[in-house]
């Protein structure tokens, strides 16, 4: 695991970006759950650390897709229909995988993240 920051650098409700090798990761704490995930939104590649929280989800700022902070699972695929006269997007464009999650550990002083070597090598 790689030490990335002090424990108090990630207070409740925060969401920050770190880089391990060439891999950008987002680390946050929501509802007392510490999590680390890829900073790459699986929908269109936006930076997840620019997102915000809603319930137990991290919301991508680009298209407002929501992912569970515990599992990374896509929980809400926002509709493009802003009103009833707007046309919905094609399913192929809307499709998205789940958010890639990383093992993370808070030892009380420091936060450590495990990024697979194939991703984290610089």
């Amino acid at each position: 695991m790689v030490k990335i920051c002090r424990s108090d650098d990630i207070p409740e409700g925060s969401l920050k970006k770190f880089t391990v090798g060439r891999t950008d990761i987002a680390v946050g704490r929501r509802n007392n759950t510490l999590f680390a995930c890829s900073n790459w939104c699986p929908h269109k590649g936006a930076s997840m650390h620019k997102g915000y929280y809603k319930d137990n989800n991290i919301v991508c700022y680009m298209h407002n897709y929501e992912f569970d902070v515990c599992t990374g699972r896509l929980t809400n695929m926002k509709s493009w229909k802003k009103s009833k006269t707007w046309v919905e997007q094609d399913p192929a464009w809307r499709a998205s995988g789940d958010l890639v999650m990383y093992d993370v550990l808070d030892d009380g002083s420091w936060i450590h993240v495990l990024v697979p070597s194939s991703e984290g090598q610089g």
Binding site: M62, K84, V87, A95
Partner: protein, 197 residues
């Protein structure tokens, strides 16, 4: 990407230097593909939207939509050569290109007779484009000077486009005046891909 050239001339220094600066070139290729895909589809859909800017309200909007439409095409032209420089390529099938575009299709709304509804679609498209190129700018700043220069020029025009449509929707005071000619692209025209400007 063909790798035959490597036997003749070795690695591309233009790629090597950005990798040494920390750029994940494959990630950058995907970001650029999403960006140019959004520009190309937007150009297409703006053509339809512009055709529907009619009547006393719509005619006044038509030329502004045309400026944005052609400048979005220019953005595609400006960035695609950079995509190929770093070993990327456009998909062989245009359907896939549309599917990987970074922004939604700017579909004509069902109630297009209400020009304000067309303006809302235009505004959303520009806002997504700003976010999309913002990602490229953030990723390349101080690491890939060439991509950054093109992306930030594009982003300046996208921000102007957003302002145009906000002003049309809200009547807020505006510094906007007409371009010198359609597709002028005052910020992007210095980029190498725009040989027609």
């Amino acid at each position: 990407m063909s790798t035959n050239y490597k036997d003749k001339i070795g690695e591309l220094v233009g790629v090597e230097v950005i990798e040494k600066n920390g750029i994940d070139v494959e990630k950058l290729r995907q970001l650029l593909l999403a960006g140019v895909g959004a520009e190309f589809t937007t150009y297409y859909y703006y053509t339809i939207l512009r055709m529907h800017c009619t009547g006393q309200d719509g005619e006044g909007l038509k030329e502004i939509v045309e400026d944005a439409r052609i400048e979005d095409r220019n953005h595609f032209e400006a960035m695609v050569p950079r995509l190929y420089e770093i070993g990327g390529a456009l998909p062989r099938d245009i359907r896939k290109f549309a599917d990987i575009a970074g922004c939604p299709d700017a579909y004509l709304p069902d109630n297009w007779e209400d020009v304000e509804e067309i303006l809302k679609v235009l505004l959303e498209a520009e806002r997504c484009a700003i976010r999309s190129w913002g990602e490229v700018c953030d990723y390349t700043q101080n690491k890939d000077h060439r991509t950054y220069a093109i992306a930030q020029a594009i982003m300046q025009e996208e921000i102007e486009h957003e302002a145009w449509f906000v002003e049309l929707l809200t009547k807020r005071p505006s510094g906007h005046f007409r371009r010198s000619f359609v597709g002028q692209s005052p910020h992007t025209k210095g980029q190498g891909g725009l040989i027609h400007l």
